[in-house]
C-alpha cells in the first residue's frame, strides 16, 4: 500500500500535483547573509551568522530537519584535539592531519576544525545534542571516560590518518595511557532536527524545498561583488530573488557525475542524493576560483556496484569488528579498533592483494563475515547500537536487521568487500576534493562569497563541515557590517528566470534522467581510466553536442523534475570544468588520480601547485597556487581570530 500505481488502480486517476504550481511567479527577500545549502555546514553557518548579529536566510533543497549527507546522523566527531581527554595539541594535530592526508589537503580548514570543533560540539550539547553517555548505557566500553562520560573512538589512536602504524601487530601496541584520544563517538542522529530548531529560534528565514539556481553579482558582471542569489521552490516552481551582502556556499559536492544508473545499486555513494555540483556550477558562473577539479577517484565505501553503505559488514568503519573467512579464520586486516590504533585496510594495497591471493589459493574461504559474535558483548553493543545506529544511513540498517532477527552476540554480518572490492574505473567520484579556494576568512576569490564544508576544496568530515560552517557564518556576519548596500541587476535576474523556467515550457523531448545518463556515459567513456588529449577533446565535443541538441529539448512536467533538470545543467557545467582542468594538467600523478597515456610521467614542479581556474569574460583562466599557500597555520589562525570569543553564551 502506498505506491503510485496502487493509487491509480484504486482511484482510476493519478493524483494531482499536491502543491500549488507557481511557475513564473516571483518573490523577493532581503537579508544580510544568505546561506545556500542547509546541511551540516549550512546550518552551522546560518546559526553562527545569526548569533553574530546578522539577519540570515537559508535555502535548502530538502527540509533542513534531515537534509544533507549528515541529516540522518553521524557517529564520529573527528579531529577534536581540544577535547579534555585529548593528549595532542590542537595546532600540532592540524599539521599532522594535513600531512597524513597528503600534499593537496586543506590545512586551513583543518586548523579551523582543530581549534574550534570542540567549542562547536559544546554548542551542540548546549542546544540539546547528545555528546556524552549520560544514561550510563556504555559503562565498561573501552574508551569511555567515567568522569566526563565522553566516549573516545579508537580512530587516529596512535597517528593521524587511516593507514596502519608500522608496529600495529606488536604485543602491547597502543596502550590506553598513550592514545591520542582525538576522536569522539557522538549521538549524531539527534543533531540535525536540533540545528533546524535553533535556526528558527534565532529568526533565520528557512526556505525549505528551495534550490539555489544562481549567484547575483554587482552590475550583473561575473567576478563582481556578490549581492544576492536566486532560487526556485522545488514543490511549487516559484522563483525567489534574495538580496544579500554576503552569501555562503554550503551545497556539498558532486555525488554522481560518473554514475550512469542511479537506481538499485547505481547510486550508492557516500554523498546525499541531492549533491549535484550545485556549488561548483553556481560559483563558476559567478566568476569564483575553484581548484582540485582535475582529481577524480574510484568511488569510495559504497560504489556504483556495491551495497549501500556498511551493509557489507566491516568493509568500512565497523569499529573493532574482526573480519573472518567462512571457517572463522581471521583475515590479516586491521579492524579500525583498539588493537590496531584505529587503522583501516581499505586503502592498503598490500593487505588487499594478500587477501585476494589468499582467496584464489585457498588460504581464505569465501564468503567473509564481520564477526560481531566474537566480540566482547559491551564492545559489539557499542559498535552496533551506538556507532552504527547513530551514523547516517546505517541507523535504519541496524533497526531493520534487528527486526529481522539479527543478534550481535550470536551472528556475523556477511561481507562482500573481496567479492566486489573495487568498482570499475568507470564509477568515479567527481572532482574528489574539488571545491572553492578561500582565504583565512573562508571568503572565496569573489567579494562577499564564502564557502564551508564540502563546498571547500579537500574537505573533511561532519565536524569539519560544522566547524567551517560556524566559522564562515561568523566571518560573513563581520563582513556585512563593513560593506555598503548594493543593488541587484534586474537584467541578470530576468535572464536567470528565463533559464530556470525553460524546461517547464515543454511537454516532451529529453527528460532529466536521459540527460543525466547521456552525460554520465560521456564521463565513463572519455574521462575515466584512459586519459589523453584526444579523449578529453572527444568528451568536450560530445558535451557541446548535448548542449546544442539535447538541452534545448529538456522538459520538466512538475517542479520536482525541474529541480532534477537544473541539477543536470549544473552537472554539465561541472563536467566541462573537470575536463578542462584535466587537460591542463599535462602529467600523471597518482595522488590526483591522473594517469595520462600521453603524459605518463609526473612533473614534480607542477605537482607542487594547486591548479586554480575561473571564468573571465567567457574564457577560462588558469593559475598555479603553491600547495600550503596558507602559511603558518597557528600564526595565521591567531592573526585572523583575535576577536574569537569561544563557546556561545545563550541569553537568558
Amino acid at each position: 500500500m502506498g505506491t503510485w500505481h496502487e493509487y491509480l488502480k484504486a482511484k482510476g486517476t493519478p493524483p494531482e500535483w499536491p502543491y500549488p504550481i507557481k511557475f513564473g511567479e516571483e518573490s523577493e527577500i532581503e537579508v544580510d547573509v544568505l546561506v545556500l545549502g542547509g546541511g551540516i555546514a549550512g546550518c552551522w553557518a546560518a546559526i553562527s551568522a545569526a548569533r553574530n548579529g546578522a539577519t540570515v536566510a537559508l535555502f535548502e533543497k530538502g527540509d533542513v530537519r534531515r537534509s544533507g549527507a549528515g541529516g540522518p546522523g553521524c557517529d564520529h566527531w573527528c579531529n577534536v584535539p581540544a577535547n579534555p581527554l585529548s593528549r595532542v595539541d590542537p595546532d600540532d594535530w592540524a599539521i599532522q592531519e594535513m600531512e597524513a592526508l597528503g600534499p593537496y589537503s586543506n590545512g586551513l580548514g583543518f586548523q579551523i576544525q582543530c581549534r574550534e570543533d570542540w567549542d562547536t560540539l559544546l554548542e551542540m550539547e548546549q542546544m540539546g545534542g547528545k555528546i556524552r553517555d549520560d544514561d550510563d548505557e556504555y559503562i565498561g566500553v573501552e574508551g569511555r571516560d567515567d568522569e566526563t562520560k565522553l566516549m573516545v573512538s579508537p580512530r587516529y589512536g596512535v597517528k593521524a590518518g587511516y593507514s596502519p602504524h608500522d608496529d600495529w601487530k606488536k604485543p602491547g601496541f597502543n596502550p590506553p595511557e598513550k592514545r591520542n584520544n582525538v576522536v569522539l563517538r557522538i549521538w549524531g542522529s539527534t543533531f540535525k532536527p536540533i540545528l533546524k530548531k535553533e535556526c528558527q529560534r534565532l529568526g533565520v528565514k528557512v526556505f525549505d524545498r528551495t534550490m539555489a539556481t544562481s549567484l547575483l553579482n554587482e552590475n550583473g558582471k561575473p567576478g563582481g561583488r556578490i549581492v544576492g542569489a536566486t532560487g526556485v521552490n522545488v514543490r511549487t516552481g516559484e522563483f525567489i530573488v534574495a538580496k544579500a551582502k554576503a552569501v555562503i556556499l554550503s551545497m556539498g559536492g558532486a555525488g554522481y557525475l560518473w554514475h550512469l544508473d542511479m537506481e538499485h545499486g547505481g547510486h550508492s555513494t557516500m554523498y546525499s542524493r541531492n549533491e549535484s555540483s550545485d556549488t561548483t556550477a553556481l560559483a563558476w558562473r559567478a566568476g569564483a576560483k575553484v581548484t582540485m577539479q582535475e582529481r577524480s577517484m574510484l568511488s569510495r565505501i559504497a560504489s556504483g556496484l556495491k551495497h549501500k553503505w556498511y551493509t557489507g559488514g566491516a568493509d568500512a568503519s565497523y569499529e573493532n569488528v574482526p573480519l573472518v573467512d567462512a571457517e572463522n579464520k581471521k583475515l590479516p586486516a586491521p579492524t579500525q579498533g583498539w588493537e590496531d590504533g584505529g587503522a583501516m585496510f581499505s586503502n592498503q594495497a598490500h593487505i588487499i592483494t594478500e587477501i585476494r591471493e589468499g582467496i584464489k589459493n585457498g588460504t581464505y574461504k569465501l564468503p567473509f563475515f564481520g564477526d560481531f559474535a566474537s566480540m566482547k558483548p559491551e564492545e559489539s553493543n557499542a559498535t552496533w547500537n551506538m556507532m552504527l545506529a547513530e551514523e547516517s544511513t546505517t541507523r535504519v540498517m541496524v533497526q531493520t536487521m534487528n527486526e529481522n532477527g539479527f543478534d550481535i552476540h550470536r551472528d556475523q554480518v556477511m561481507n562482500y568487500t573481496f567479492i566486489e572490492f573495487q568498482p570499475s574505473q568507470q564509477f568515479r567520484e567527481a572532482a574528489r576534493g574539488g571545491g572553492l579556494i578561500t582565504d583565512w576568512n573562508l571568503m572565496t576569490s569573489v567579494d562577499g562569497l564564502y564557502a564551508a564544508g564540502t563546498s571547500l576544496f579537500s574537505p573533511g568530515d561532519h565536524s569539519f563541515a560544522a566547524s567551517t560552517g560556524r566559522y564562515a557564518g561568523r566571518k560573513a556576519a563581520a563582513y556585512v557590517k563593513s560593506v555598503e548596500d548594493a543593488e541587484i541587476c534586474r537584467n541578470q535576474v530576468e535572464k536567470e528566470k528565463e533559464r530556470v523556467i525553460a524546461p517547464t515550457k515543454r511537454d516532451s523531448g529529453i527528460d532529466w534522467k536521459e540527460l543525466h545518463n547521456g552525460l554520465a556515459r560521456v564521463m565513463q567513456y572519455f574521462v575515466s581510466e584512459y586519459k589523453n588529449e584526444t579523449m578529453f577533446n572527444l568528451a568536450l565535443e560530445e558535451i557541446a553536442r548535448i548542449e546544442e541538441n539535447a538541452v534545448p529539448r529538456l522538459f520538466a512536467l512538475d517542479p520536482h523534475k525541474l529541480m532534477r533538470s537544473l541539477e543536470d545543467l549544473n552537472m554539465i557545467e561541472h563536467a566541462k570544468i573537470i575536463i578542462h582542468a584535466m587537460k591542463e594538467r599535462k602529467f600523471s600523478n597518482t595522488t590526483l588520480g591522473i594517469e595520462r597515456l600521453d603524459y605518463p610521467e609526473n612533473d614534480e614542479e607542477e605537482a607542487k601547485n594547486y591548479l586554480v581556474l575561473c571564468q573571465k569574460d567567457g574564457e577560462i583562466q588558469y593559475e598555479r597556487v603553491p600547495i600550503r599557500y596558507w602559511g603558518n597555520m597557528k600564526e595565521q589562525y591567531e592573526a585572523h581570530n583575535k576577536d574569537y570569543t569561544g563557546v556561545y553564551k545563550p541569553e537568558n
Partner: protein, 98 residues
C-alpha cells in the same frame, strides 16, 4: 474499478522503499516533510498514508522511519539486491532481511 487493467508504463524500480501499514498510519505526513528528496507526496485523502511518488530516487537514509511518530506505521523495505545477509556463527545458517 479495481479490476480494470490500465495501460501503464513500467513500474518505477525499485518501487517500494517503505511499506505503510494503513491500520496504524495516521496520515500526519511527517515522512513527507523529513524526506530530503520528496520520495512521497501527501495522500489527497486526509489521514491516509502518503503516496510513494519517486521511489527510485530513495537513497535509503531511513529518516522517514526514524522520525515517524506512530510505531509500526512505516516499515523499511530494502530492495532485493540490497538486502543484508548474516550467519549464525554456531549453526552456520545464513539469513537475510525479508
Amino acid at each position: 474499478m479495481a479490476d480494470k487493467v490500465y495501460a501503464l508504463p513500467n513500474v518505477q524500480s525499485p518501487s517500494t522503499p517503505v511499506i505503510f501499514n494503513p491500520e496504524k498510519c495516521i496520515g500526519c505526513n511527517t515522512c513527507v516533510e523529513v524526506c530530503q528528496i520528496d520520495v512521497y507526496i501527501p495522500n489527497p485523502e486526509k489521514g491516509k498514508p502518503p503516496i510513494i511518488l519517486h521511489p527510485e530516487e530513495c537513497w535509503y537514509c531511513g529518516c522517514c522511519v526514524t522520525d515517524c511518530p506512530t510505531p509500526g506505521a512505516i516499515k523499511f523495505n530494502y530492495p532485493l539486491p540490497l538486502k543484508p545477509r548474516w550467519r549464525n556463527k554456531e549453526t552456520g545458517e545464513v539469513m537475510q532481511v525479508k
